[in-house]
């Protein structure tokens, strides 16, 4: 037998055994309801899982079990009845997470108010009657349709992706949430999707390793089960001799997406708003393979070895000059290539070199891209403390970062430590505008904030006198998040947004505590607005279209040096 393919996989789900208490076991009751409607949900699978005790400051870290540790049973399966009720009997007191899962719903943890909420630890103490627990589950949605070729014929075996646009630290980022492939009729269905906005794309033939379903709504094999060991084994494969050459065709057509409906890049894609439980049919795409261009690269002769990063959809290539110059076969489109290396020769010996070029991949004129690697530009400066003439020894503990706007994937972001005099030297890899961000402040300077200009422009010439001033007293805001009936709401998201919305370094977000209180510290003086949501997609507040309809709800707050504001905020309800 010819072994054409041997896959080996072994996944053992390990359980950290929680600290067992000697207190008598208790019973735990609760109900699972649908978010918004409060309809009780039957046959929901529950898993109660011990977590390590809360870390005690100064105590040694809790040892983690080795990967080979045996599977233990310190997990408790549960299942809701026809009325959505569940009960765990004989639970040792301790700290637990409680997760609910059901086909057609997004996983939900104890404490979550909606699909985006933070999960909370469930503290089970011995003795007395425990109050009932409530879990909320949001129905998952689906996007379905057909993919056709340019002749209107079904296009089978095309991989389909549903991507969320996320804004980590304010940077627009695409994240694949769900994937599938079209069947022989060109039909697809991506299901188990949490509500939100999606970009849908068709992306060439399905990779040979297959595609995973949406993890956020993966339910156990049959309701009521908790899988503690799964998916282990190997697969030997024999194939039809007539097909033995076919796999070579498989991989070549990946990575040139067509976005719903007809866009060839994500910026022009038509976003799809998927409401909870919505089953969107007829989301059809006409797909064709984008022509590809063979792109060659040159230059970089002053670095024996170098790394190229081609974006968007970053590809990294290693090369060495002059004998191993990389090439890439790219779909037609616009690209940026960034190069980094380590220099040789008199002027560049052992220095980190970098460069970048924007280019078009055009089949009529396959490009040769010449990337020049240049040594970094030195930026010298000093951090001073406003209102003080002397240097503080704790200035040595300050760390700042110089982040280029726009950023270029593959180009390192310099972080800088300062001397106790406050002096610093930064090596800036490429020219451009850089935002100064304060990453770390020692406790003694904790109330300090970046008072001076936050953007510097770096051209080809070294800068010798960048002055950074840390103001004496940053502002603080504290308050309570209030629901519709003015009741304090715990575990909701409160966000502080600067009026200068492009200053992503000034955004702050927290979750309210058990009594609905929140507190922001280290606020740079300026105009701000405060918002709170019962359940909100993380970082979505960086998106102007999301904020525009609610912008006028709340008044601006003026923060000056040393402000101590006490402001309550109304929580925007889930629906």
């Amino acid at each position: 037998m010819k072994l054409r393919q041997l896959l080996f996989f072994l996944t053992v789900l390990l359980i950290a055994d929680g600290a067992h208490s000697q207190q008598p076991p208790v019973a735990l009751n609760g109900v699972v309801v649908e978010t918004g409607t409060n309809r009780p949900l039957p046959r929901v699978s529950l898993e109660l899982r011990p977590v390590a005790p809360a870390p005690v400051p100064g105590a040694p870290p809790v040892p983690q079990p080795p990967p080979s540790a045996p599977v233990t049973s310190a997990r408790y399966p549960g299942l809701t009845d026809e009325n959505g009720q569940f009960a765990f009997r004989n639970i040792p007191p301790g700290r637990y997470t409680l997760t609910a899962s059901k086909n057609g719903f997004v996983h939900s943890d104890y404490g979550q108010r909606g699909p985006n909420g933070k999960s909370m630890i469930l503290a089970v103490s011995g003795g007395g009657q425990l109050p009932g627990i409530q879990l909320f589950m949001t129905p998952a949605g689906a996007i379905a349709g057909h993919v056709y070729d340019s002749n209107g014929e079904p296009y089978p075996y095309v991989q389909m992706h549903a991507r969320r646009i996320t804004y980590p630290a304010g940077q627009r980022t695409l994240t694949i949430t769900g994937s599938t492939y079209t069947d022989d009729l060109g039909a697809y269905r991506i299901y188990g999707l949490p509500p939100g906005q999606y970009l849908l794309s068709a992306e060439g033939e399905t990779p040979s390793q297959g595609i995973l379903p949406v993890a956020a709504s993966l339910a156990p094999p049959l309701p009521g089960a908790v899988v503690i060991q799964g998916i282990g084994g190997s697969m030997g494969y024999t194939a039809d001799p007539a097909n033995q050459r076919k796999p070579a065709n498989r991989s070549s057509n990946i990575g040139n997406p067509v976005y719903f409906r007809t866009a060839n890049n994500d910026r022009d894609a038509l976003p799809i708003d998927l409401r909870p439980g919505e089953d969107l049919q007829g989301m059809d795409i006409t797909f064709s393979i984008t022509p590809r261009v063979d792109v060659t690269f040159s230059g970089m002769s002053n670095s024996p070895n170098f790394l190229l990063t081609i974006s968007p959809n970053p590809i990294t290539l290693r090369g060495s000059s002059p004998n191993n110059m990389p090439r890439a076969v790219l779909p037609v489109g616009s690209y940026v290539v960034a190069a980094t290396g380590t220099g040789v020769g008199a002027d560049a010996s052992n220095r980190a070199l970098a460069g970048y070029v924007a280019f078009e991949a055009n089949p009529s004129n396959p490009p040769n891209i010449n990337v020049a690697l240049n040594p970094p530009v030195s930026v010298l400066g000093r951090i001073a403390l406003d209102g003080r003439q002397d240097a503080d020894p704790d200035l040595a503990k300050v760390r700042i970062r110089l982040r280029r706007i726009p950023s270029i994937p593959g180009i390192p972001v310099p972080t800088v430590s300062t001397a106790s005099s406050g002096a610093f030297v930064a090596q800036i890899p490429i020219e451009g505008d850089y935002v100064i961000e304060v990453l770390e402040l020692p406790d003694s300077l904790r109330d300090r904030y970046l008072k001076s200009e936050s953007v510097i422009h770096v051209s080809g010439q070294p800068l010798n006198d960048v002055a950074i001033v840390l103001g004496a007293r940053a502002g603080q805001i504290e308050g309570t998040a209030l629901g519709e009936t003015k009741v304090a709401m715990s575990n909701v998201t409160v966000v502080l947004l600067p009026d200068q919305r492009n200053r992503t370094d000034l955004y702050k977000s927290v979750t309210t505590d058990a009594s609905g209180r929140f507190r922001f510290e280290g606020i740079v003086p300026g105009q701000y607005k405060l918002f709170a949501w019962e359940d909100v997609e993380p970082d979505i507040w960086y998106k102007p279209e999301f904020m525009r309809p609610i912008e006028e709800r709340n008044k601006a707050i003026a923060i000056v040096e040393g402000s101590r504001e006490n402001i309550d905020v109304l929580v925007i309800p889930l629906r």
Partner: protein, 608 residues
Amino acid sequence: MKMLLSALFAVLTTLAPQTLRNSATLEGQVMKMGTSLSMAEVTVELVRSSGVPVEPGVVQLSGGSPSRTFKTGTDGRFRFSDVVPGEYRLYATHSNAYAPAEYGQRSPSGLGMPLVLAAGQSKTGITLTMTQTASISGRVTDGNREPAAFTSMLAFRIVYRQGVRTVEVVQSVLTDDRGEYRLFWLVPGRYYLSAMPIQARPYSLPLSFPSRVGGALYTGTPVIALRASDAGDVFEETYLPMYYPGTLDIRSSKPIMLRAGENLRADFNVGPTATRTLQIAGTIFLSAGQPLPNARLELAPRKPEGHSIVVPTANADANGNFSIRGIVPGSYFLYVTSQGGQPFPAPGTPPPPPGSPEPILMTATIPLDIGLNAQTSDLNNLKIQAVTGANIPWQITFEPRVGSSTTPPTFNVSLVRDPDLAGAPPALLSTRNVRATPGNQAERLLRGVGSGDFRVTISGVPKTGYVKSIRLGSADILKDGLHMAGPVRDELQIVVSDNAGQLDGVVLDFKRQPFSNATIALLPEFNQRAGRLDLFKNSTSNEDGKFHFEGVAPGTYKIFAWEDIPPDDWYDPEVVQPYESQGTSVQIEEVKTKTIEVRVIPTVRSEP
């Protein structure tokens, strides 16, 4: 690359005039099955074959061998000219909506035969017939009639591989959130179907292209899940495959005959697939009573029948204690292996340098019934004694061909388990059983052979030879197998003879015309078949209906020639039984060549 191209060019230039004069031509047409319609956009591929079958019907294509393709137009015609004479395979592939077609094929799922092109020959009028693939779709529900999502749906074939009944998964997909699935690109033919709740199998499975033979073989550890009883007790369960039309017993499963272009609907309820599991626990110790740490335990089903081989495993701890979980009631072999108490090296660890001391190998094979005969509880406190494996020396006597004085070839002797169960550890743990070299008796040793049943295999037997006898003391190992239960004092005495018989034959149809691409199986006499799989031989008739067997051990055989039969099915007595009267008996003697005419067994063309 550039150098290679110019070298190739030079060869072509030198050979070109001669090649053109002696080249062959091939012409034909691609048709859609059951119609008089020609097929356009078909890729016809002519591939040079090495002629050496790696398994029945499957020919190893020589790597990088000359392959030429032709894309058909609307008339479906293809033509290859200036073909270097030789043996070829001719394939036709279209989109995956069609099964691959091959020259000589007798059914959509059948395999073709080699095409021999002689110098100057012009072969015309070849027809390749393409068949539409089929699909199976349906809806899967759980015990509460709710949609069962993430359920693994498999279309599989039951085949015989080296005489072992094996399940080959042809296609697998997952149900969606509505419990809907669609298995597609299936070549028409006979399939079995199963549903299994996910996390039992890797849930990211690649789709397979339409395939007339082959598929995936799964072996793995069981899924273990926890569930609470109504009383609140937590127990462990696993999931069994549900076979069409709704049975947990694969033997009661109903096969499906899929016709070309058909979409069959099949719904499932996977509620009953959850089953409680048992566990066994115990200690492994040495004869002196001290515990043996780090042994590996594998519990392989004695009669694996399902669509995947589930083997619960465990490693003993430093005190020799073990517990194996996730066991479904049944009959098993428990295999215990140890490298002298040392932990097994992680996969990918380089082998120890030559000359380093070899750990003492210990293996044991223990038959074990678990959860049978109304016994429903776990097995605890098993005491397993590990015994050092035996080292068995072997000796081969070679009988050269009558009238010649050939030097004896280099032989190697090895062991396979009998039965050779999937999931069982290798019969020989040591990797140091190196090839025998003349005069090197030290290496003619089977090392660390533990308890259990084995068959002795010998490589290096000439094509015209056969294994005449294998004896260990008074035991006939060739006939009865090797049964190990303790130390061995004797030497394995093997006789290999280069005087095997031969068989030349022709397959004829009912008009006594030569019948090409028949599948021919040469089986030992009925009462010998079970124990002597090594005597089974098979071949296919060529374009003139002729076939040839060599290296046939003397004895009485029965020969069958089928128009179309799945590869290796003749290992199944139930498949062969109805044809027993249509076989031809033949007596093979040493050295001699027997000539025979065999009547083809036609395929019964009836739909179930």
